[in-house]
């Protein structure tokens, strides 16, 4: 399955090939991002990180606050 992932903040858009039974957690890890530091949104709504990835608009929101 070929999906497009937006990473915020930063307006980064990545196209990745993933297997059909991958979880959001594996997807985030595959992009070299620590799952601890993000929320994953599907069509703008938060999804559990251990759910299986479905096709659609996926956003990885880095929830990092200042120093």
């Amino acid at each position: 399955m070929r999906i497009t992932v937006r990473v915020l903040p930063g307006k980064i858009e990545k196209r990745v090939n993933v297997s059909n039974d991958i979880t959001y957690e594996s997807l985030v890890t595959q992009l070299k991002i620590n799952p601890e530091e993000v929320l994953v949104l599907k069509e703008g709504k938060s999804v559990p990180i251990d759910d299986k990835v479905e096709e659609g608009e996926i956003t990885i929101l880095r929830v990092i606050s200042g120093g």
Binding site: P35, E36, L39
Partner: protein, 150 residues
Amino acid sequence: MDGRAKELSATKLATGHNLDDEAQTILMNYLKGDMEKLRRSDGEHGFIKRIKPLREVLEREVALYGLLEGLIDTSECPYAEQSLRWNVRKMLNEFESNHPGTKYALVRGYEKIGRFLPMGRTLSTCERCGGGCTGKICKACELIEMIRSK
């Protein structure tokens, strides 16, 4: 914040520190060997008593709540990458990923030993703004100066 709280005759000052903030502060001060500063993060004489209602809540969960309530701001602090805190945050998140519960354990462990640490220096008055501080100039005035000099 302390000045405003006193104006309002507040008896407590609630801050938004979450579990990540607390675990980072503890580990940072361990790494610097600064036990006095660590102790001061619990509050000091002369300042209004601080309370931290979100102390046991992960930053990610605070963010999730913010997202659901439409409160979230996705911009990042431009100074975040310069700080030791940034490195400690990365390190702690890697630990949390591989060993869930690390952040909570750090905070719990500190609660057991914190009260045995000395309070250290007494509070003085900031030369610029007159607020309470531990050095000559308070952190707020120090940061304002840093931003202006850029």
